[in-house]
Amino acid sequence: MFLIDYIKDVAGGVKSLLTGMRITGGYALRHHKEKLTQQYPDNRDTLVLPERFRGEVIMPHDENNEHACTGCTACELACPNGTIKIITKFDVDEATGKKKKAIDTFIYHLELCTMCNLCIEACPTNAIKMGQGFEHSVYDRSKLIKTLNEPGSKIREGVE
């Protein structure tokens, strides 16, 4: 029946509109508890960012100045716009005398990075992750090209 469909149409429309208004009205009532905005320059010292915030790619080092990067270049291949460049070298294992591939320099172009997270997903040893730092302004573009492995660092024992 045309009339029944018509009335159903109107009722359904009104219902969906009211659902939307209930959601935004709820937000308006609870906004003081749930607001998402950070008062950034004021709360710079106490700023807590969400866990999944992507500021820059970092490579964590432990207290012995060791990282987990094997130099497999999976991140370099995964990067869609050539942000990462890995220069590898060969270390000689002291115990066995065998040659082993290792990183010499992990170059990260922050100015090209779109924070897409693909390199972190590609890494088989969780050597790199997304850091929380976001204050990246510099006066010289060359300062945005970063070396992620610290000088004198080497790969952690047992990471293959």
Binding site: V10, I23, G25, H31, K35, T37
Partner: protein, 374 residues
Amino acid sequence: MPGLPLPSGEGTRVRFMISLESIANSIHEWLYSTFNETVAMLLEFTIIGVCIIGLFAMLGLVLIMMERKVSSWMQLRLGPNRVGPWGMFQTVADTLKLIVKEGMTPNGVDKLLFNLAPFIVMIIAMVIMAPLMFAKGLQIWDVNIGVLFITAVSSVSVIGILMAGWASNNKYSLLGAMRSGAQIVSYELSAGFAILVIVILTGSLKVSDIVLSQENGWWLFKGHIPVLIAFVIFMIAVTAETNRAPFDLAEAESELTAGFHTEYSGMKFALFFLAEYVNIFVVCALGATLFLGGWMPLHFGTDTEFNRIMDYIPSSVWFMGKTFFLIFVIMWFRWTFPRLRIDQLLNLEWKYLLPIGMFNLLLATLIAIMGWYL
């Protein structure tokens, strides 16, 4: 005659020593006893004009602030919070900035129409204020066709918008203005039908009569089903008539940059902006008068203790409270619903609101004849 005392409501018991009505009446009497009739009348016109301009300025500041705060609440943001406590003086700062900006007239425009359009829109918004009843006994012009006057004059504002769009000599402005024209012309019908429901139940077009008829309960409660439907239709139609989201096709930012006021800057732009907010205030005040009893306190039945307690709240507070509640609802619409396409907009009007409004009018007539309202 402006400022004339009204026949007071018979059932309103509590009389305040200082009310807006008594202030207005004493000014009126002092003017007419001090000066001769013509001078007194001219002085009265001037005072009312100054009051209305002051009200406009206040409304502009308060409503824009309210809009920005309400939108920030609904989007879980903070909103303006830098200028003054809770950012209250943000709109004052914005207004100062707009005043000192250059009022530019582009080369290719029709200069006369271009400069005239914002004033036409503004003056029409001012004229609609005349029959509104701001508090008990506080009304500029209690004309016996008040509601008709408001609906008739408010539809003239489309001329100002079309004028601005045409004079801008810009295809986006013209498109925005044409859309606005189509929209205002079609939604006026259903707004009219919704208003007619109350006129039928009251039997008068006079604003003061309509308010007094709600002494024993607001029409929204007394008139049950037909008035409830009329109220919903009225709110939808006036949202469309004031060109606000979700019906803001006239200035659809994403499609037409800013619609009919693309070429305007500085104070001329501010006048359009102000007129939009004043129009919202006027239609919400009309809605409050028709459906929620205007300045009439919340009454149930006659002569109860509850009514007496409610009478202690001043009538101007009642009126402003109801009006600002309806304004909040319209802002709630804006920050909840996505914008309609032009075909959806006209479908909604001609296939849904208009037929429902017509049947509702028949139903209301039946109820008025049979006396089935409270």
